[in-house]
Symmetry: C2
Subunit: 249 residues, 2 copies
DNA sequence: AAGTGGTCTAGACCACCAT
DNA sequence: TGGTGGTCTAGACCACTTA
């Protein structure tokens, strides 16, 4: 039976199943929010027991690629649901409840990747990119200024109209229109001082302390999708990081 | 068989097993680094199958309470190993490899918990506490100033001599001497400006931007153990947060 | 009622480690 | 060699969802 999968090495069967499912997911075999075949059908297709399929899917769930619903099925993870929305947005009020930000696009331009950007996006220097500047508001107050860099290759027909006309979050747009599913992020944080231009946009005085967040958003196989530099006014808000919280259900 | 466990509700058996193991771990039934009974013995003791014990331990592993080693056994997680050491230290050089910090204790005092501290430590205002100030250096350079608050109740006989005389990390001391195992942390980050005193200690100019990290360290059942406020000079270093990385093995 | 994922079991065999 | 965790299987039954 194990011959049916052939992963070269003597890797565990469930790893081979996981690998095959990941490849199908990355290839967009099923749309976000769509159901995968049932565990029984997958077991039959791969010629393994249901237990082995379950173990493979367990890991896909842990890595947030899919979501299970008892009685309904297993679904491709989507940036649709409220819980997923929150997952990559780490700015919370110093006091009070979490809010969804309102995003205003200040600039949408085309350009070329500088060497540092190219390295982080794992493309060649000079690669065509989009540069997008957004202002984020929480309860009407300007809280963060985001500068995004995307490769034009990954988002072929993107225009300012499409970007600002999205009905949902930015990552939801990536997912639904370009089949690019942001699965995790890597962030580096620093403290910096507001320059005159940024100060004006965020409504703080020049030289005010700002939190700088440099994010790389990654999709399947840790392929970089987006660079995002955020400058956050932390007078009324904070960045939060709960380590180990996800596992503690 | 299931009667043997009795968890009141109709919770899954493996959750009951997990709960019992967690209680034994929290009670210090086995010392950090010590082996738990084998899965077969636990299955026999609880009157369940090995598969059920494995599922319970799977979750304990995900929550970092225990570590499995094939062929050797399952062990109480310890702050001994290098990997564990790194897990709660998020400051990395802007360029270059991760380093362990050198800690110098600048102050060790006794005091009373203020209302905000008491709330976060979940004790009464005025509760006796320790206040400890540490200076952290990386490659000889002062990088962060840490102010810790611990309850005297949780660390009964702690003295400056014991604290500074520890052979290992601070969390290793909590674990080995007080049986308190830090399992996860919750952190809130802001940008702030260096005051004159802090500036002097960190070797920056007054008004320099600093990263402020407010941490609560938690043990079993999310009981608070330690408050820690860090002020970090991010000229040469950064705070990093890799979301979802733990799951992606 | 039919289909899905969730739990639990029992047993076989493998990979690794200590002795 | 014996003990440990790791993998894989097959099947029974439960809980939940949808129609």
């Amino acid at each position: 039976m194990n011959q049916a999968l052939e992963l070269g090495a003597v890797a565990p069967l469930y790893k081979a199943v996981k690998q095959l499912l990941t490849q199908e997911l990355a290839a967009g075999e099923w749309r976000p929010g769509e159901a995968l075949p049932s565990e029984a059908k997958l077991a039959e297709r791969f010629g393994v027991s249901i237990g082995t399929v379950r173990k493979a899917i367990d890991e896909l769930v842990a890595e947030r690629m899919v979501v299970r619903h008892q009685g309904r099925g297993t679904f491709v993870a989507s940036h649709n649901t409220s819980r997923q929305l929150f997952h990559f947005f780490h700015i919370v009020p110093h006091a009070g409840d979490r809010q969804h930000p309102r995003t205003e696009t200040l600039a949408f331009r085309r350009g070329r990747a500088e060497s540092g950007e190219a390295a982080r996006l794992r493309v060649a220097t000079g690669e065509p990119v989009f540069r997008i500047r957004n202002l984020l508001r929480l309860e009407g107050r300007a809280v963060a200024l985001d500068d995004l860099v995307l490769t034009q290759a990954q988002f072929p027909d993107l225009t300012e109209k499409i970007f600002t006309g999205r009905a949902n979050t930015i990552y939801h747009l990536y997912q639904t229109r370009y089949g690019i599913n942001v699965l995790r992020t890597s962030e580096r944080l620093r403290a910096t001082l507001a320059g005159a231009d940024v100060a004006k946009l965020l409504g703080v005085r020049k030289g005010a302390p700002l939190l700088e967040i440099n994010r790389v958003a990654l999709t399947y196989h840790d392929v970089p999708v987006e660079l995002r530099r955020s400058l956050v006014n932390t007078e009324q808000h904070e960045y939060f990081s709960d380590l180990g919280k996800d596992e503690a259900r």
